[in-house]
Symmetry: C2
Subunit: 125 residues, 2 copies
DNA sequence: CCGCATCCGTTACGATACTG
DNA sequence: CAGTATCGTAACGGATGCGG
């Protein structure tokens, strides 16, 4: 019984895509998933060190909803948060195709308006 | 020479996923692409009639950036906007895998917290 | 220190009324 | 019909504080 969801979104419609966007239609959630998919388990501080420079309150709130909806969880569920990295659940890992599709599209079509873009998904820190 | 981009995003990083989210990391852009992918060319009023009930100012602003970045264009480029539907460009159409990946994930994992969700991508209007 | 929470200014969103 | 203008609300983002 891991579902302790505080507030469900106000679903805009019955469309699956729309519903996914009700949950992850922001600029940060998929980047958190990306970091976990690329690096494996990752702590709060490590997320903060990513190139995109998320601020602490935003990170905390995004981690909370991702955890509420079962996409991420602490590596050691019984330990305290300190130094206890997050990891992807199986459900969270299955978001990978979304990120990869975005990535493919961006690499193919964003190069001319964003020359610094690299094929590397993220710099290793 | 179709690139008349007013304001490029402040790219947060060189990561392709991050860059895609800089452009489309919101709750509406992909739904506009969805409507065009499902229904073909579609007018302003038809977008407004979708289940998600986007408001007029948001729709106008999203259409503008999608057009600026070459994802959509008017069906008849030389005519006025009135009754002139938007259609996907080839670049825009290539966002389809992103929407489909989101859709697959949602259908697989969102059913229990969103029972009304249907396998239909969108109601035909 | 590390993982947040709080405060607060700024920006984006959203409903509605309105215009050509 | 295809958008703007307006204005209230919610989300974001930086700085800072605080408990463990």
């Amino acid at each position: 019984m891991k579902s302790k969801i505080e507030a469900l979104p106000d679903w805009r419609s019955s469309c699956p895509l729309s519903s996914a966007l009700d949950l992850f239609g922001d600029k940060w959630s998929l980047l958190i998933v990306r970091d976990l998919a690329m690096h494996g388990p990752r702590t709060y501080s490590q997320f903060l060190a990513a190139d995109e420079k998320i601020s602490t309150n935003i990170l905390a709130s995004k981690l909370k909803v991702l955890e509420e909806f079962g996409l991420i969880e602490h590596l050691n569920p019984d330990a305290s948060s300190r130094g206890n990295p997050y990891k992807l659940t199986e459900i969270g890992a299955e978001l990978a195709p979304v990120g990869l599709a975005f990535r493919e599209w961006a690499l193919k079509h964003l190069g001319d308006i964003h020359p610094q873009m690299t094929h590397l998904p993220i710099a290793i820190k």
